[in-house]
Amino acid sequence: MQPPAPPKIAAIEVVAAQPTEADSAAIAQLSAETSRSLPQVAYVVKVRLKTKPPVTSMAWALYVNDVLIPKYWEYEDGIYFTVLDPQFFADHKGKRLRFSQNGVDFFDTGMRLAAPPAPAAASKSKAKAAKSSTGKAARLPLQADVLK
């Protein structure tokens, strides 16, 4: 038998979306912890895979350089994770995406973390998807719509 091979990434896209209720709670907590006012935005980082790996218990942990993405989720074309603090992009945009199963052996995907859309552009391009009526975040698309 052969050990599993890491997935190959086809593309990276970052989309600004409305935070879920749980995201909002996390944003509030993060704001309190960092003494910074964070925007009510959830940046959805879509990692489109060339081929999805089989579903097993072992997982390919995703790293941006040496920083572990603590949670990611599956969508139709690959995996995605959300970023609630824009500082993450300031710190890590352009850095390598890597997979590892054990935190020791790493596989460089050849892809780099994309930057988030500029706030104005994000709002403008997604405005037509927004139906909600309250607040800045309401002009952003729902995560469910972003990931369809």
Partner: protein
């Protein structure tokens, strides 16, 4: 080896005499699409077993590749439970599956174990966590929360005067069992169970998530082929605070690197500041040669080609014997079944013929003579405080090192012993006034061989254990206590070094004239194999 002591015990894999009913519980109505039709069974639960939904959105998303008819804010509590007939109260065991294709319902895969336990008078359930399955990562805190919320459901039923389970659940005797990522999840559940909050989410039943409170009387936690550290709490890698049991197969081709060994190693470690103080919990490990990953779940297709792993029926039998023994011991107060945890040889008459195992057991009652965890990390080995003594190596290279016995981040220091001629020895001389050996029943240590060149392939290693008091010496070949198996090569990746716990009863030493109150030395004498490399840990007096 053990075995004689358990001759009068019944095989714990055999069904008991208690009649039981199997019911489905669930949270209908849910419009499962055709692709998820396997879950439609939860839309028609027993009318008395209709459950609520829970909000796990603070811990997990569901992913968008599976068309679940619910959100992470209202996931169902679905499961199958085998309920013994009678007044009870009955202990409770709850199983959780791991990650798998979410279009196949993994939940019924442990009914074979639930039915066994129920027939012995244990309420046994297997729960639906399929909505967290898929190409997801880091969600094992969510699996833990789901597991605890199912326990909460059983507590609610137990406390509801009109419910069939009213007063029937012994909430002080609970075993949680998880397989694969569910096996990692039960470790987190054990940890979360004692916390007021996790990651800013309060676990007191209050909004907005309405999770908890828990504080269950968890008797033990069992992990079948678990992952490790896919989720890590902010406080650091989870340390399981309850009795911990782990079982894993050498042919596992999913969690092929035996990650759970690291969970095991973190549990119930020696406190260097108070080395004689124990947290009162045991841990035990069973390494099963030729077992793979998926065959512990009766639904999952084998992940290994035909002929690589043992037959499915044999693997399920191993699970029934050993998890059955655990349940008998910790849930039904049949302490004699702890012998199976202390030494897998006690189950030799019950296990499938020819099955090879490596097992470890750490009793909560112990005093270490040499645990090897002293800082700094450097040779040579030393006798561990508060025991006073010296260590001398003669013809054997002895080095304390962070050997990766299995792949991954290693935190336990192990003593590596290598020799190239007969007669080499490692001698620990101790001050008998500092070693209260007479308080204990057993001299124990764990020893394993590697695939290094000076170990003959596929041959058991061996040495002699010499224990002396004054002029009396007992010399016991290790092979009289247990086989030291050559590593079973995995389907891929490096071979693991699995240490076997050797337990030498003090009464056997006394028979040889050794006086426990005047114990002067313990030696590992390499007089049975001309060459070899062994890894040794946790030399101790224990029970």
């Amino acid at each position: 080896m053990a075995g004689a002591d358990t001759a009068t015990l019944k095989n714990p894999a055999l069904a008991g005499a208690v009649p039981f009913d199997t019911v489905i519980y669930g949270a209908p109505p849910l419009a499962y699409p055709v692709a998820l039709s396997q879950y439609a069974i939860y839309n028609t639960p027993d009318p008395a077993y209709v459950t609520a939904r829970i909000n796990v959105s603070a811990f997990a998303n569901l992913g968008f590749a599976t068309p679940w008819p619910f959100l992470n804010t209202n996931v169902p509590l679905n499961g199958h439970v085998c309920v013994p007939r009678g007044r009870g109260p009955f202990p409770l065991a709850v199983f959780a599956h791991g990650n798998h294709n979410p279009f196949e319902n993994s939940t019924p895969g442990y009914l074979y174990l639930c039915q066994l336990l129920a027939s012995h008078g244990i309420i046994a359930a297997t729960i639906d966590v399929n909505f967290l399955n898929g190409n997801n990562f880091g969600e094992n805190d969510g699996r833990a929360i789901v597991h605890l919320e199912h326990l909460k459901q059983f507590r609610a039923w137990n406390n509801t005067a009109t419910h069939p389970l009213h007063g029937k659940v012994d909430l002080n005797r609970i075993l949680i069992v998880g397989h694969s990522r569910g096996g990692e999840g039960v470790g987190h559940a054990s940890f979360f169970n004692r916390l007021p909050s996790v990651g800013g989410v309060t676990l007191d039943g209050s909004g907005p998530f309405f999770l908890g409170p828990y504080r269950f009387g968890l008797t033990a936690v069992a992990a079948i082929a678990p992952t490790d550290r896919q989720f890590t709490p902010v406080s650091g890698p989870t340390v399981v605070p309850d009795h911990y049991y782990i079982i894993h197969g050498s042919k596992d081709s999913d969690v092929s690197d035996f990650q759970g060994y690291h969970t095991y190693e973190r549990a119930h470690v020696v406190d260097l500041a108070n080395p004689t103080v124990s947290d009162g919990k045991f841990k035990a490990m069973l390494w099963v040669h030729k077992a793979n990953h998926n065959q512990f779940n009766s639904i999952w297709a084998s992940e290994t080609p035909v002929g690589v792993a043992m037959p499915r029926a044999s693997q399920e039998e191993v699970a029934k014997v050993h998890l059955g023994a655990l349940a008998q011991a910790v849930l039904l107060d049949r302490a004699e079944y702890l012998d199976v945890l202390r030494d897998h040889g006690a189950a030799v008459a019950w296990d499938p013929a020819g099955t090879e195992f490596v097992s470890q057991y750490q009793d909560p009652a112990r005093v270490f003579v040499e645990h090897n965890q002293e800082a700094p990390l450097a040779p040579p080995p030393v006798v561990s405080l508060p025991v006073q003594g010296t260590v001398a190596a003669d013809g054997v290279v002895a080095a304390r090192q962070l050997t990766a016995l299995v792949a991954g981040l290693t935190t336990t220091i192990t003593l590596r012993l290598a020799w190239n001629a007969l007669g080499a020895r490692l001698l620990l001389s101790v001050d008998p006034s500092t070693l209260p050996a007479e308080r204990y029943k057993t001299l124990a240590l764990r020893v394993g061989q590697s695939t290094e060149a000076n170990n003959a392939a596929n041959r058991d290693q061996d040495f002699t254990l010499e224990v002396s008091s004054g002029s009396h010496t007992a010399a016991i070949p290790a092979s009289c206590l247990h086989r030291l198996l050559y590593p079973d090569l995995p389907p891929f990746g490096p071979a693991k070094i699995m240490m076997q716990t050797l337990r030498l009863p003090i009464e056997r030493l006394v028979e040889c004239g050794v006086e426990p109150t005047d114990l002067r030395s313990i030696a590992l004498v390499f007089d049975r194999r001309a060459t070899g490399t062994l890894y040794v840990g946790d030399l101790q007096w224990s029970n």
